[in-house]
Subunit: 331 residues, 2 copies
Amino acid sequence: MLHMSSPIRCATPLTRGVAVVAVGGNALTAETQRGTADEIAANAAQMASCLGELVAAGWQVAVVHGNGPQVGNLAMQQDAAEDLVPVQPLHQLCAMTQGQLGSVLVRAVDRECGAGKAVCVVTHVGVDPQDPAFETPTKPIGPFFDEDRAQAYAAQRGWTVAEDSGRGWRRVVASPRPESIVEMQAIRTLLEAGHVVLAAGGGGVAVDAGSLDGVDAVIDKDRASAALATAVGATELYLLTGVDCVLLDFGTPRQRPAHRMTQQEAAQHLADGQFPAGSMGPKVEAALRFLDDGGHRAIITSVGRLAEAVAGDPTAGTSIERAHAATRTAS
Amino acid sequence: MLHMSSPIRCATPLTRGVAVVAVGGNALTAETQRGTADEIAANAAQMASCLGELVAAGWQVAVVHGNGPQVGNLAMQQDAAEDLVPVQPLHQLCAMTQGQLGSVLVRAVDRECGAGKAVCVVTHVGVDPQDPAFETPTKPIGPFFDEDRAQAYAAQRGWTVAEDSGRGWRRVVASPRPESIVEMQAIRTLLEAGHVVLAAGGGGVAVDAGSLDGVDAVIDKDRASAALATAVGATELYLLTGVDCVLLDFGTPRQRPAHRMTQQEAAQHLADGQFPAGSMGPKVEAALRFLDDGGHRAIITSVGRLAEAVAGDPTAGTSIERAHAATRTAS
């Protein structure tokens, strides 16, 4: 009963407000891994150790995980058994990965902080069916097919399919903007009660914000994190990625780390095309959106440097800070 | 934006305490259905309408759903793709069904009660690794195999397999007693804040109560409901099933409905072998356990009669009532 009776970090008074942490699905299934339960659990344990540092530092913590590799595996399993068992829609697969990865992360955090500290809320994120993203689906998901099978699925299932970088054909779906966090109030309540909340996994289960019907779209996890952070009144947003900090003039002789930027500087670098669309770009955009909406500070760093960034090490990660007087106080 | 702005039943003051409702996985995928997303959503809508009656009557409501058909489908999909994608352990499949069915039920309840009213908590239920149930696994799960494939899985994956009623071979797992609800405090907090909480789906993700490691076992959903009801201080427990009420002397000329029983009468009927082990027996046992642990009233009925049972119709369902003075007051 070790873990039930010895919460290690729980006693810390919660005084610093809410921090939201976004971690990629690749942090739970690395690109060199296949996604076994043991691999995911080991990665979650490492992540939980870092999250424990935030808790120990007095933050109320919400965590948004990605689910790319895991939802891809589920999609492959659905297809392999399509003659035996009904294929579930993408939004249901996303809900499944929230249960799967939420369970692993809750148990990992509870081992750090005491049983019952973490709680995973299956989270729905409202989108606007009129979002222009639905006109041009661009986000590839799930397995690769040859063109014939891809076109057959397009006909049978109404999918949009596209050739992906010479590697084969894949389904592509829209990536609309998050408009609302349906479970916002419940998540706030749990944060206020001192829980570490796993929420909006995979960017959230996408639903029509009006009807609550499921929508087969993928909400970018970093955008969802910014929306959640704003909704719950977070002052800090941690966007964890594969690199320790933002690099300027990446891949040129002038390449250099940027450890601290104002909102305006980051916006200028973004406008200058410093950040690639598929990787650092969405993170900087999410950071800026969060600061525009009242957040104090967004930090882009790796899982491994999180603890140092929390401790205030100025060489750990990239801190983008609200330029003017903070408009939101820690709750 | 109809559903976002017009909560129908939410305004009711919460004064009657907590009621826990258990519904079978067959109520979400009927035996004549294959388990498509549309089927599950339609069944959930009907269920949510009935749950809305409980909310309207002033109860704080927690819902425990079963997952037998759904976890069986997932297990089949895992096996069909085993050469492509790592097979996940049973406890992870249970977590996936919590996400899947929780999402459907949350959206269905929210359509009745207003967006954000319902919240699904991925719930872990602690079991004792020394539970004698682990010595003799008896609960069949997942697909049927021929004997050769079943024995191959037994060797490869460490499964226990058994022949099931002349229909083929299946995996069998232990069904240990629920010892603790890991997320108990979070669920209480959400109930107190007025949410309808979906919790312990499929009986909960089974974990070693000490280490929080996942355990490949199935916790009986009715037992889990009773444990949850006790943990959150519920006064009423609704066990929904395929029949409207308990029948005594079932299948004999003396067959008759039992609409009201004391705890002692129900215990006597159970001891007399009135209730079959696979169906009504576990429900009556769960009801008695709940009353022994301080609950006021357990009601066994169908989804269709729930509203009448809530309204106090004495011919709707079977009400088993605590014989002595109630020891727990509504919170």
